[in-house]
């Protein structure tokens, strides 16, 4: 099986007219994508991560045949997004803005039936699929069968939107900020489902978000995009490895402070000690690979009569990674 999505050197410029007076105007060109190249395989969730205006939605629009690029090429399911748009459309499930995109005076089910007809689904097949999706996304429990779309909460709207993306069981899913503004249970539900769809059902998922925490939870691979350029790409662990920031080993021990300095001085690393009440000392040690010294350090503490209260390793976050690769600017 080939690549699900392949973008090569995508360029997109938006032209906007700026009014200078009643009859005068100048055309301003904003370069939204400056040569973006990446690929997505079947069975993986790839996160397109970046701040607002980075070029995420522009990329999704191009791949969804909703926008023609000014340069480069993109193939979805092996079809060119410009030349073979009809074939691309049969292979994608699309989820754009969460809070809009349905008819207000129809119920959730009726809306799905509407789009099933648009996607050319057989009536019986569509009914069966809609039943399945309503159950899968727990929309039945929320009353999507009887409630009009205009009465839906944001969480319900997001679930319905995902249900539409899954209607045709397309092998490729393009999800643009699917959890934006959602409450934690709804966001979690969607994240779990997206992971299942890729890992269990073998779908290729391109998932845009500006939420670093979420990207780390959902995505197998992350593409960081800023100001129309890809600034970094890899698994979350690989990306963190690439930055020079040290990990922080947090250890809380109880015991006599006098022995503490001896132990810590034996490690060739920067450390901080914050002694609290009841002889509890919170120690922070900055290391590249804290896992390698942890065992030896614990033995030393216990050997000198300390009681280890807690241990935690703080890794650099994707936020740190993003700031590092984007040169501190977004």
């Amino acid at each position: 099986m080939g690549l699900a999505i392949e973008a090569v050197n995508l360029v997109k410029r938006y032209r906007t007219k700026k009014r200078l007076g009643l009859f005068k105007s100048v055309t301003e060109v904003v370069e939204a994508l400056k040569g973006v190249s990446f690929s997505v395989r079947y069975g993986e969730v790839v996160g397109l991560l970046g701040p607002n205006g980075a070029g995420k939605t522009t990329t999704i629009k191009i791949l969804a045949t909703l926008l023609i690029p000014d340069g480069g090429e993109a193939r979805v399911a092996g079809y060119d997004v410009v030349e073979e748009a009809d074939k691309v459309r049969k292979n994608i499930g699309l989820m754009l803005t969460v809070e809009k995109g349905f008819y207000g005076k129809l119920t959730g089910r009726e809306n799905l039936e509407y789009f099933a007809a648009l996607y050319g689904m057989d009536r019986d097949v569509a009914r069966e699929r809609i039943d399945y999706l309503i159950k899968l996304l727990e929309l039945d429990k929320l009353g999507a069968d009887t409630k009009l779309y205009e009465e839906f909460s944001l969480g319900m709207k997001a679930r319905l939107s995902l249900a539409r993306a899954l209607l045709t069981d397309a092998p490729i899913l393009l999800l643009d900020e699917p959890t934006l503004g959602l409450d934690p249970p709804s966001a979690r539900k969607i994240r779990e489902l997206v992971k299942d769809l890729a890992h269990r059902d073998g779908k290729a998922v391109l998932y845009t978000t500006h939420n670093m925490f979420e990207a780390e939870l959902v995505c197998d691979r992350i593409i960081m995009i800023n100001k129309g350029r890809i600034v970094a790409e890899g698994t979350p662990a690989e990306l963190k490895e690439r930055i020079p920031k040290l990990k922080v080993l947090n250890i809380a021990v109880r015991g006599n402070q006098g022995n503490l300095k001896d132990i810590l001085n034996s490690i060739d690393s920067k450390f901080e000690v914050d002694s609290g009440e009841a002889d509890v000392h919170n120690i922070k040690v900055y290391l590249k690979k804290p896992e390698e010294v942890l065992d030896e350090l614990l033995k030393k503490f216990i050997g000198r009569g300390f009681e280890v209260v807690s241990i935690k390793i703080e890794e650099p976050t994707l936020e740190d990674v993003f700031i590092y690769f984007s040169g501190g600017s977004t």
Partner: protein, 266 residues
Amino acid sequence: MSMLDLVRVEFKLVYGDLFRRKSAFITFILYPYIFTSFTLFIGYAVGSPRGFVERVGVDPVVYMITASYMLMSIFSSIDDLLWRPLLDLHIGTLPYIIASPVNRLKYYTAIPIPRLVAVLLLGFTSILPVYILYYGLEGVAVVFVVISILIVGCLTMVFFSIALAMSIHRVGESWRMLNIVRPVLMILMGVYYPRMFMPLASYILSSFIPSSHAVEAVQRFLMGMSSDIYILIVLAIAISFIYMPIGKISIREWEKSRVRRGVETF
């Protein structure tokens, strides 16, 4: 992809809107009467009913309720096509429609059909009571003839409306253009001003609007000049089919222009 399925879901959409919005439903029934009252008020203020009967050959009340009903029927069905792209843009359904593999001509042809059925049924609440009052039971037969001609009148407007809507929506702020084009269409269609009495230039211009021939057919029928009705109906159908390829091209070009700019997903 079945056209029937598209019509079925459109029915749900239109009827959902009509029956779940009480104000829409009430105004839907009242509109022909409001239009009639307005035109009669103006007519009685500036002229006499006898003068109208002498010139047109039909009682002004019968003529105006029929005119209002025709206007409602034709415009309700074509308005769905004229405004739909804007509605879809603002409620956010447009990107999903463009990104769907649906046959565009089938889809846009299916859109006006449900409202067309609704407005034709409206004949029984608008023209039927008035006709019975004026013609007795014979009025029921007259209603069926008028509705039958109007079915042709509305259907022949579908391809014309697609072509018109998609050409207008290629322009920015198309709603302004629509607000200019609609009244011009209303005048040229000749529903209130008997079409055969139009100045020649307007008559020729209105010939390009397929339903104007159906409107004239209804007017001639009410005036008792039934001999030319068939020719007018055939003419309406023939002109309508000229707009089919134009409509198809217009949809394609409109969609191209949208995609070139980028379909809004706000």
